[in-house]
Subunit: 527 residues, 2 copies
């Protein structure tokens, strides 16, 4: 295992700035024995230029090659040894089982995108054949498919050093779409990023693809140059609201604005119906405490707001939940900055009028203690959404409303969210129609009788939602639909068969399901 | 025919500002006998609030009702009488056949979106069923479909008073997606807008839909309030680059940025291969002159740049083309402002070093004369893209390059374009592979042996392209894929069948083609 610490540009490792920085042990804050070099602006441009040059060839390789490339990346990452796992653990403070699980999630995600590439429906082939005798004007032959938008800039998240980072969902979906990727390595796990970057580079070489298909730059502040680089045509980001919004504003300020898919801030409300609490309040309390504290609460789907209804069932639940939260040990966070932000978030909550702490777990230096608050329901509708400012860590806020009607009125005023969970018994679900309709307009994923943490990587997943959950509710950053963010349609009019891209040729050589003259068809174009 | 001139808000006609303006005869500049009222900011908000209230019900009506609504709008517009046609002719200066043709295009477009709504594949239903026994963790049941983003603001274009205006493609696709629409009436055809607005209002009433499904506001400067209204969730625009960019910047500045699909500026290069010119140069010259001058050149697909290769075939073509252009009569433009801009554009071209006028048609007061220029090929790569600044009107620029290789080098540096046309004989097409690959990355539609004017409304059409052709190359504003701009995915996790939206229920009651556990299926979910 060799950590070079230099930029990954067109298959070479380079560093011209001379500005260096370190990576740290998450638990102790101790510097690790690696040196990283801050990328210069010209290095960023070198990486994006290489990506653009690679785009010309990469977007046109056969789909099977593209799928094999994704699988080769997966194999290279799976082959990283125990030393790698220990390195990730040290840099992030996350336990071994989580790292191993997250690696499998990451490589299975790459493999899932390989199946998407092979299935080919992302190509969205549509064919309208010529109608030479139509009156008053003949119709020309027109054929449409989806192509990659161009090189994509990927900003990984601190909290998923593998699954939402260098080879995470944004990279996998962009590569699947035919777009080269330039990653801004997250400074919270620079060494992890380097090892994964090396794995991808080996896969590029084994697949004999142009080296510019993958690039990576290190260092603070390089994101600006990356988003402004003219060769970059879209951005994927997972992280904080201020960070994501800054990238959106930068992208919008370009001479040619580009789309940014930033997954940012969500408090993932959990709604507890009275009969569910009566029937299984203790189990819900235990499960919810587990969800709030899972991974030290460092998930974008962490339940940061628990909404119940006034009455004994909710009070009993609140007591159980407080006990469960207080039984949780303090946890190492991703880094000292994350811990500091968490403590500031708790202090902000405690100083908010109408908010009271109702549980606090045991503390320890350099670790995060669990915390729960009770808040006055009026704060849900208060200016500035004080209960919806994300406190990233193992804490949550409980609120008791008067009744379901009050909640239905409030939901449209809530910020956009990644998820909303509803715990309800069968007999009370019938009365939840209005609530579900309101929630559907404010969230990306509606969950019944389960916690929001745990995001399945599959075709049907939506990990998105209205602002500020994401910067564009029309995308998802988990699941196979994520590929759509990096595609654009193009059409050919009047071209002879042999000059058309394969997905559009008469014989349907790729065996695609295509919309031909308004009918779905898996066969050739009828003569 | 009664022109009220007030805002269309929640089924009522209101005007509180007292600020009035007129509509004008395009040919004479004379004011028409109608008074229009500038919308106040509170009226804009009243319209967007009504749209938001209507969204709750409208997005959940049965698909068949939604399709019938679109067809009812079409029927109401088709039923407008000859007086209406004369009104549009007067306001826009466009001839009768064009207006009647454009009306048919507009209503057929609405009917086409009705078939899209009935087909239901825009719902993008995806189902991953539960795997309760999966190790290490069970998979929950997850089901995804697409829902409307919310109320959409539509800014119509001056040059298509019907097909890209009040009931044009943006409105049709937004309504098809389940989104209410608030239109900013184009001040170039206020009375036309009013008549179409009345037709839509009648259709809303006949369909017993909430009145807020359609709103319209009049007046200069109201666009700002419309784009900033919190209820608006997306914007559709067709018009100038400065206008479109201003809306993009406004939308990006919102507390919650929203997507803008602005179709703005394109010069639609036409590439003439030598053998095609040898074989049929005169026909191409005549056809091209027809395309450049069609509708007084007031099309976003107007061919504003003609690229050939040095040699006698091109010179002969250029002479033919100049003759053809000079034989065209002067034409009434949409309004005096459009004519003024055209004349300024011609003056800018004439004063550009390296550009020479090579043809000018006969002139007449208040009418636009045709014009053609020859430009030094080096200007194609010059800073500021002087040949790519759109001159909206019946003019174009001819450029002769040395060879195909030079063109392949230049294409990636060109601005994004709606279209690129290639005229080539069969035997020279084989050498055009590199050119096509380069063009595919810069345009939305590649055309062979035909002119860019004439945009078929069908499933496969792409009327889009990289900036500045549009603000987001991932959309099209013509063709059925336009609906995707106004949709976002949402998923349900763990919900029982009867609480799921119809598109996601086990039995597949809508008969949709769905992605079920990674396989496309038109049947029920297997037990």
């Amino acid at each position: 295992m060799e950590i070079v610490g230099k930029q990954f540009i067109d298959g070479k490792r380079v560093a011209e700035s001379g500005i260096t920085f370190s990576s740290y042990d998450a638990a102790t804050g101790e510097a690790l024995p690696y040196t990283f070099f801050q990328a210069s602006e010209s290095e960023v441009r070198a990486a994006t230029s290489a990506a653009f040059r690679a785009f010309g060839r990469y977007r046109n390789i056969p789909l099977e090659e593209r799928a094999l490339f994704l699988e080769t990346i997966a194999a290279e990452i799976d082959a990283l040894d125990d030393e790698f796992v220990r390195l990730v653990m040290r840099e992030t403070g996350l336990p071994e089982a989580r790292i191993r699980g997250e690696r499998l999630r990451t490589t299975n995600q790459l493999r899932l995108f390989a199946t998407v590439v092979r299935r080919g429906d992302f190509l969205g082939a549509r064919i309208d054949t010529a109608l030479p005798k139509r009156e008053p004007l003949p119709r020309p032959d027109i054929r449409q498919y989806q192509v990659g938008v161009g090189p994509v800039a990927v900003f990984g998240a601190s909290n998923f050093p593998l699954a939402f980072s260098v080879a995470g969902g944004d990279t996998a979906s962009a590569l699947a779409a035919g777009c080269p990727v330039v990653v801004k390595a997250h400074s919270g796990h620079s060494a992890t990023a380097e090892m994964v970057g090396q794995a991808i580079t080996r896969a590029v070489e084994r697949s004999t693809l142009p080296a510019g298909v993958f690039g990576m730059v290190f260092g603070a502040g390089v994101g600006r140059a990356l988003v402004l680089a003219p060769e970059i045509k879209a951005v994927g980001f997972t992280g904080s609201l201020p960070g994501g919004r800054a990238l959106c504003d930068l992208a919008a300020s370009r001479p040619d604005p580009i789309p940014v898919f930033a997954e940012m801030s969500s408090i993932n409300p959990v709604i507890l119906m009275p009969q569910a609490l009566k029937a299984r309040g203790a189990a819900i309390a235990a499960g919810l405490a587990g969800s709030v504290t899972l991974g030290a609460g460092q998930f974008c789907t962490n339940p940061g707001l628990v909404i119940g209804f006034q009455g004994e069932a909710f009070e009993e639940f609140a007591r159980e939940f407080a006990r469960a939260m207080e039984s949780k040990p303090p946890a190492v966070m991703l880094n000292s900055g994350t811990l500091q932000s968490y403590l500031e978030g708790l202090a902000r909550m405690e100083s908010t009028p109408g908010v009271e702490r109702c549980a606090a777990g045991p503390g320890e230096t350099k670790r995060a203690h669990t915390c729960a608050f009770r808040a006055d329901a009026r704060l849900l509708s208060a200016t500035g959404h004080p209960l919806e400012e994300e406190v990233f860590g193992p804490s949550t806020v409980l609120v008791a409303l008067e009744n379901l009607h009050e909640l239905v009125q409030i939901v449209p005023t809530l910020n956009g969210q990644l998820t909303a969970s509803l715990f309800a018994e069968e007999q009370e679900l019938a009365g939840c129609g209005e609530l579900l309709a309101a929630l559907e307009h404010r969230v990306g994923r509606l969950i019944l009788n389960d916690y929001p943490t745990g995001v399945e990587v599959c075709d049907a997943m939506v990990h998105g939602g209205p602002y500020p959950a994401t910067s564009d509710s029309r995308g998802t950053s988990v699941g196979t639909l994520a590929i759509d963010r990096y595609l654009r349609p193009v059409c050919y009019q009047g071209y002879p068969d042999q000059l058309l891209p394969l997905p559009l040729q008469d014989a349907n050589p790729l065996g695609l399901r295509r919309l031909v003259n308004g009918q779905w068809s898996e066969g050739p174009v009828p003569a």
